[in-house]
Point group: C2
Chain length 208, copies 2
């Protein structure tokens, strides 16, 4: 696998050309995102896949007018659970029982272990859930690169504004980070040719 080559090819694309990502590529990127690891396997977040242009036009001013919002093929919005609730844990335990053909009683210990989360504040749990979403973001970025699809992870937007437009509050979700998927407009994007800047190995890693 030439993952390193693909990761070197990708960059935070500032301008995209509106070309659509073929459905089979998008499906594979989403599938990989859904397979991302999360603590307990709980996946305490959802991912919105926004293609509708009217919605994206409403989102754009809430993201400092950044052009990728409308020039992308699809916009992924990673939205973390506003809190961990008993219902959400129960749903997951039910999924585990069904998938693994295990009796619920056998999962009581695992469930009790997870339920320790319920003792935390909603804010603590939300921040924890947001970190889990970032693992999936990292996986999605790698998956997009392997499909030769450009991507731009973006934190520069109003989470409250996005939540309002996307109706997330009613779903118990809060947007934390977005990822534009599409194809670079190399002529318009002066960063498309810029060498990637990364800290040198010996300044980034500490070997013990």
């Amino acid at each position: 696998m030439e993952l390193i080559e693909k990761l070197n090819w990708r960059y935070a694309t500032k301008r995209m050309n509106g070309t659509k990502v073929p459905k089979e590529k998008l499906d594979r990127i989403l599938h990989a995102t859904r397979l991302a690891a999360s603590s307990f396997g709980l996946q305490p977040f959802s991912v919105l896949v926004v293609e509708d242009m009217e919605v994206r036009k409403k989102l754009q001013p809430l993201a400092f007018g950044q052009p990728q919002i409308v020039e992308a093929s699809h916009l992924l919005v990673f939205a973390a659970w506003d809190n961990v609730t008993e219902q959400r844990i129960d749903n997951y335990i039910q999924d585990v029982a069904t998938t693994r053909n295990a009796p619920l009683e056998a999962l009581a210990g695992f469930k009790g272990y997870m339920s320790s989360l319920l003792k935390n504040t909603p804010e603590h749990n939300f921040n924890w859930a947001a970190r889990q979403a970032y693992i999936a973001l990292g996986t999605a970025l790698a998956a997009a690169a392997t499909e030769d699809v450009d991507s731009t992870p973006m934190e520069g937007f109003s989470p409250d504004g996005f939540d309002e437009v996307l109706g997330l509050k009613a779903k118990g979700l809060k947007s934390v980070v977005i990822l534009a998927l599409g194809y670079r407009d190399a002529e318009q994007d002066q960063l498309s040719k810029a060498p990637k800047v990364r800290r040198a190995h010996d300044k980034f890693f500490i070997h013990i």
Copy 2:
């Protein structure tokens, strides 16, 4: 690329067999981790690569005695900056200038934009830095899978304890998440054969 197949193969390995990950594979996993995206490209974290068994034996009781700590080949400790400082931004700007052969004056706007981080509290910046580290964790997980190397992301440890053993405070770092790399002990690990549990596509994604 068969990334999905690799991601389906991986799971949070509970028992490892001590086999060493070959150097060229480890190097590629680390390289991919270093190429992970981060906001502004700032990479506000470091990654410790812990191989020394004496150190790992000291860490194990600080991670609830989990066996992967010593059964792994290497233990990656993702450690976020305790704060964003002017010095750290300056170092990065210098890296950008060198890599892109750009005069520092041309980077003043970019630097000013990043400096808005300095107005936040250390706690806010640390939490932001931790999220960036989680993007790299997601990338590392994908990279390990593509190398057929097992991995276990772990949050169940004492960050303060790890920071103490690893001398992180003096480096302005705080451990946030760890990743054991190695090879599964399929006989000892009853989860090695368990079907992967992930929320169904239509419950995980919201298409708009």
